[in-house]
C-alpha cells in the first residue's frame, strides 16, 4: 500500500514537471508571438523595408546620372579630337576645306558642338496684367510665340539656336505644358531667352519685318526684347 502510494506520488511529480515544461513553452510562444507579430509591431516591420528600397533606387539613379555625365564629357573630348584632326587636314589639303566647313555647319545645326559668335538675343516676357479682370491667356507667352520666333530665326539663317540654354536641333520639339513650355523634354518657365548665332543684321531685320514676328508678338501683348550681342551657345546635352 505504502510503496504504491510512493510510486503514485513520484509519477505525479514527473507529470507535474512535464506539464510545467509544456506550459513554459506555451507561454513563451504566445508572449513572443504577441510581441513580435502583434498589432503594435506590424508597421515597424514593413516601413524600413520600403525605405531601404527607396534609398537603394535613389542611389542607383544618382550613380547612373554620374555615369551619364562622365560619358558625355568623354564624348565631348572625342568630338574635340575629331575636330582637331579635321583642322589639321584642312591645313594639309585645301580642297577639303569646303567639305569641312559644311560638316561644321551641319554640326552646329545638330547642336553637337558649342557655337559662339555674333548673334541676337530675343527675350519674351509675360505682360503685366491683372488676372482677376483679364484673361491671362491673352497676356502670357505661349509656345506658339516661341515657335514663331525660332522659325523666323532659322529661316533667316541662324547657325545655332538655344532656348534658355537648351540647344535646339533639327528634330527638337517645343511643347506647351501649362504655364511652362517643354523643350526636348525639359521644362522652362517664362521669361524665355532665345539666342541665335548668325549675321546680326539679317536676323534683326528679319524679325522686324513689317507685319512680321515682332509685330504679331506685340499684338499679343508680349514684352519682347531684342539685343545684338556676342552669343555663346552650349553643346546639346541630354539626360
Amino acid at each position: 500500500m505504502n510503496s504504491q502510494n510512493k510510486r503514485k506520488s513520484k509519477k505525479n511529480s514527473v507529470r507535474q514537471i512535464w506539464f510545467s515544461v509544456v506550459f513554459l513553452v506555451l507561454g513563451f510562444i504566445f508572449a513572443f508571438s504577441y510581441k513580435t507579430l502583434g498589432i503594435n509591431n506590424q508597421q515597424d516591420n514593413y516601413q524600413p523595408l520600403a525605405y531601404l528600397r527607396e534609398e537603394q533606387y535613389r542611389e542607383e539613379l544618382l550613380r547612373l546620372q554620374e555615369r551619364n555625365k562622365e560619358l558625355y564629357e568623354e564624348l565631348d573630348e572625342k568630338m574635340r579630337e575629331v575636330m582637331d584632326i579635321e583642322h589639321s587636314f584642312m591645313h594639309e589639303e585645301d580642297r577639303h576645306t569646303k567639305l569641312i566647313e559644311e560638316a561644321e555647319q551641319l554640326r552646329l545645326l545638330l547642336g553637337l558642338v558649342p557655337a559662339h559668335g555674333e548673334g541676337v538675343k530675343v527675350t519674351l516676357k509675360d505682360a503685366d496684367y491683372d488676372p482677376l479682370t483679364q484673361n491671362p491667356n491673352d497676356y502670357i507667352v505661349h509656345e506658339s510665340h516661341v515657335l514663331r520666333v525660332v522659325n523666323e530665326l532659322k529661316i533667316a539663317g541662324a547657325e545655332g539656336i538655344a532656348i534658355n540654354g537648351q540647344r535646339l536641333t533639327s528634330n527638337s520639339s517645343i511643347k506647351c505644358t501649362g504655364p511652362v513650355i517643354t523643350v526636348d523634354g525639359k521644362t522652362f518657365p517664362e521669361p524665355f531667352v532665345i539666342e541665335a548665332v548668325g549675321s546680326q543684321e539679317v536676323l534683326q531685320s528679319s524679325l522686324q519685318l513689317r507685319g512680321g514676328v515682332l509685330d504679331s508678338l506685340e499684338q499679343d501683348h508680349i514684352v519682347v526684347l531684342v539685343e545684338e550681342k556676342e552669343v555663346i551657345l552650349p553643346a546639346l546635352r541630354e539626360g
Partner: protein
C-alpha cells in the same frame, strides 16, 4: 499544481522580456507554432473529458506537432510551395472540431445534471405529498 502555473508565468515573462528579433520572413513559423500549441491544448482537454486522456500522448503531441508544423513550413519555404497553409488548415479544422466536442460534452453534462436536479425535486415533492 503550482508548478505548471509557475512555468506558464515564466514562459510569458520570458517571451515578453526577451529582446529577440526575428525577420518577418519567419513569422509563418511562429503563427504555426501558436496554432499547433492551441490545437494540442484543446485536444488534451477534449481527451480528458472523454476519459481517454494520456500524459504521454499529450506531451509528445505538443512538442511533436510544433516541430512537425515548423519543419513543414520550412520545407514549404524552400520548395516554393505554401505548405504552411496545409498546417494552418489542418490545425484550424481540428481546433474547431475539438472545441465543438468539448462544447457538446459540457452541454450534455450540464443538461444531465439539470435533469437529475429536477428528478430529485419531483421525488422530494412526491415525498412531501406522501407525508
Amino acid at each position: 499544481m503550482w508548478l505548471p502555473l509557475l512555468g506558464l508565468l515564466i514562459g510569458i515573462s520570458l517571451g515578453l522580456l526577451s529582446d529577440l528579433q526575428i525577420p518577418s520572413v519567419y513569422s509563418n513559423y511562429l503563427s504555426i507554432a501558436v496554432l499547433a500549441a492551441l490545437d494540442t491544448l484543446f485536444g488534451g482537454i477534449r481527451a480528458h473529458l472523454q476519459q481517454v486522456y494520456d500524459d504521454k500522448i499529450f506531451i509528445s503531441g505538443f512538442f511533436f506537432n510544433i516541430i512537425l508544423a515548423a519543419s513543414l513550413a520550412f520545407l514549404g519555404v524552400h520548395l516554393g510551395v505554401d505548405l504552411y497553409l496545409a498546417a494552418v488548415f489542418a490545425f484550424g479544422v481540428r481546433l474547431f472540431q475539438n472545441i465543438a466536442i468539448i462544447r457538446r460534452i459540457l452541454l450534455t453534462k450540464w443538461s444531465e445534471r439539470a435533469e437529475e436536479k429536477k428528478r430529485g425535486e419531483i421525488e422530494e415533492s412526491q415525498d412531501v405529498e406522501k407525508l
